[in-house]
């Protein structure tokens, strides 16, 4: 891993310039560790220099807005000032009312959006996973034409979601091809249950090839010998899939599913364009928050955004804690990664190389 082994005698060049500025590392025994300790102090500063611009930008565009949203969610919308009768310029402080409203007046719309978001996430991610794994298994079998397949599979991924919303809106049009194919008139893009189905179909189309791609990458690092050994031991195709393929692609699959879940939870473009804004049957939490914000009701909008953020955070935490999805992977400090990999190795029947490289 990325430890800085500086060849003896060529201590990191910038470390020599400021010998006094050793950062808080425990000082090491004088002879053996001296070069290394000085190098660490130098690299520490260099690292801070290199990393800080990114952290600064992310602070401005992510952490600051999040804190703003928390604060903003405690204020109500601007309105008529009851005393003067004029429109007031300041937003009244309402405490937690934006949140408690969810259980009373604003409740219906919020809970509808909440359940839509949850339904879309659960249904699309399950379908995508099944279809994606099936695609990966098919592609792993094909020897020729793999480049073609890979290019084809990337097309839905590359089409902007907004455009794919339009594309499916056209397909699901009352006189569109979908109704011609099923020989039955369904008003897909009208508000209603069929609108949910339309969104799910469009979303699954766009993203299951992507899961297929990631699973394929995971499949290709499984050594052939494992399958041969299993075959000799008399394992059928199904047993090989359940006992070998699935456990070995599990780490890759878990990360893919986590990312898809988090993406689905913040779904916006597709229902917004395919069905439309303020359509109850497909309104997601993102759409609800955006709609409130665009109507200058920043307080309630922020409250919805904060709740969505908490929802996403909890799901991510559950994945990492309960299922052991390894997000950072090999990144980060060697010790932690090694420890965790060792733990996983024990659970796993066979150690698999971790890096997936798709080869033609």
């Amino acid at each position: 891993m990325a430890d800085t082994k500086v060849p003896p005698g060529t201590a990191a060049p910038d470390s020599g310039s400021a010998p006094g500025s050793r950062t808080g590392r425990p000082s090491s025994p004088p002879k053996a560790g001296r070069t290394r300790a000085r190098a660490t102090a130098g690299t520490g500063r260099l690292a801070a220099l290199l990393v800080s611009p990114t952290l600064l930008v992310l602070t401005i565009v992510v952490i600051y807005p999040t804190i703003m949203a928390l604060n903003e969610s405690l204020y109500g919308p601007k309105g008529l000032d009851p005393k003067t009768g004029f429109i007031s310029n300041t937003e009244p402080f309402v405490g937690l009312r934006n949140y408690t409203d969810i259980f009373t007046q604003a409740g219906d719309r919020f809970w509808n959006a909440f359940w839509n978001t949850t339904l879309f996430t659960v249904v699309t991610v399950s379908l995508e996973t099944v279809i994606g794994v099936a695609m990966a298994l098919i592609m792993a079998k094909a020897f020729r034409g793999r480049a073609l397949v890979r290019a084809g599979i990337l097309v839905p991924w590359a089409i902007p979601t907004a455009i794919s919303g339009l594309l499916w809106r056209w397909i699901f049009n009352a006189d569109g091809i979908a109704n011609v194919l099923i020989g039955h008139q369904v008003l897909w893009t009208a508000d209603g249950f069929q609108a949910k189905i339309a969104v799910i179909i469009a979303e699954v189309w766009k993203t299951s090839p992507f899961i297929g791609l990631l699973v394929l990458a995971g499949l290709q690092v499984i050594p052939k010998e494992v399958y041969e050994a299993a075959r000799i031991d008399g394992a059928g195709a199904l047993a090989r899939f359940w006992r070998i393929t699935l456990p070995l692609v599990k780490p890759a699959l878990l990360v893919a599913v986590l990312f898809r879940c988090l993406d689905a939870l913040r779904m916006f473009d597709l229902p917004y364009i395919l069905i439309g804004a303020q359509k109850g049957s497909v309104e997601t939490l993102s759409m609800l928050a955006q709609n409130e914000a665009s109507n200058v009701r920043f307080g309630p909008a922020s409250a919805y955004a904060v709740l969505l953020f908490l929802y996403v955070f909890l799901i991510a935490l559950a994945f990492v804690r309960l299922l052991g999805a390894d997000l950072v992977g090999e990144a980060g400090d060697a010790g932690g990664a090694k420890r965790r990999r060792a733990a996983r190795g024990r659970r796993r029947a066979l150690p698999a190389p971790r890096r997936a490289e798709v080869t033609a």
């Binding site: 990325a2 800085t4 060849p7 060529t10 060049p13 690292a47 290199l50 990393v51 611009p53 930008v57 992310l58 565009v61 992510v62 807005p65 703003m68 949203a69 903003e72 695609m135 098919i138 592609m139 480049a147 397949v149 290019a151 084809g152 599979i153 990337l154 097309v155 590359a158 089409i159 902007p160 979601t161 339009l166 594309l167 056209w170 397909i171 049009n173 091809i177 011609v180 090839p209 992507f210 990631l214 990458a217 890759a252 990360v255 988090l262 916006f268 955006q290 914000a293 955004a305 969505l308 953020f309 996403v312 950072v328 090999e330 990144a331 980060g332 400090d333 997936a356 490289e357 798709v358």
Partner: protein
């Protein structure tokens, strides 16, 4: 026996054909529809019979302002990509090569930011930008877009840098380069393919953005292509101009599809190293 053997031989190709059809059929339908005349837009034949570019002409009619929208998209996505790559290259180098405290924590934080629901940063930023008069400006779209492109770029580049042998820099440093020179003269040229791959992936992500662009603009002249297409209006208010929407959709997508076809191997390597490890 021979029959089943033959089946076994051909089955994967049937499967592959099915996968490709699944992925391409809707896109093909968009392409075909865009090439129909507006009078037979509801035709369901598999080929556009009288081939017509009427829709493409309609897209570029000045009333739609589509060329301006394309330019806006190019500026926003281009600047976002350039800025993200610049910052991410430095950070990724530190992540891949240097040992420092809180490294794992920082990387986790950076990755975690990419999972933020965009709407929860758009709402407060919208209010802020309204106050400082940034609505309908490029920066109001570029800055929030960095929230997801920067983590993506850092993550991708870290994996690429890590794949490169460290001995190269050490050799350069033994030969008298400083770390900075070794980075500039050895690492950057060698990492160029990785940087390029990351640039494509980041650009596609920024190009496809919709929510930020929708919220931060209300002037048609500042809308990006994805927003502009969704707001195309037909001749009458009850008519959705599907033909020109499909044509515009093709125009917005085709550059990406060509990129994907040309660089598919690189893109797959970038996506899988970033996302599946």
């Amino acid at each position: 026996m021979t029959l089943t053997a033959k089946w076994r031989q051909w089955l994967p190709y049937v499967g592959v054909a099915a996968v490709v059809a699944y992925c391409l059929a809707p896109f093909y339908w968009m392409l075909v529809s865009s090439l129909r005349r507006s009078t037979d837009i509801f035709s369901t034949s598999l080929f556009p019979h009288p081939l017509s570019f009427e829709n493409y002409r309609a897209v570029f009619s000045p009333s739609q302002g589509f060329s301006r929208a394309l330019l806006n998209s190019l500026i926003v996505a281009g600047v976002t990509t350039a800025l993200s790559l610049l910052l991410a290259t430095f950070t990724a180098y530190a992540m891949a090569r240097l040992e420092f405290r809180f490294k794992r924590l920082i990387l986790t934080l950076i990755i975690a930011t990419s999972m933020f629901p965009v709407v929860s940063i758009v709402v407060p930023l919208l209010k802020l930008f309204t106050n400082i008069g940034w609505i309908n400006t490029y920066q109001s779209m570029i800055v929030p877009s960095m929230s997801f492109t920067l983590p993506l770029a850092v993550w991708n580049l870290t994996t690429f840098f890590r794949q490169m042998p460290e001995e190269l820099e050490h050799a350069a440093m033994v030969d008298g380069c400083t770390r900075g020179q070794a980075f500039r003269k050895i690492i950057i040229p060698l990492a160029a393919p990785g940087i390029f791959t990351t640039a494509i992936i980041v650009f596609i992500a920024a190009w496809n953005e919709f929510l930020i662009a929708l919220s931060m603009t209300n002037k048609p002249g500042m809308q990006t292509a994805t927003v502009a297409i969704s707001k195309f209006s037909g001749a009458t208010s009850y008519q959705t101009p599907y033909g020109s929407q499909m044509a515009a959709g093709v125009l917005v997508t085709v550059p990406l599809v060509i990129m994907v076809l040309v660089f598919q191997r690189r893109i797959v390597a970038g996506l899988t190293s970033g996302a599946a490890k």
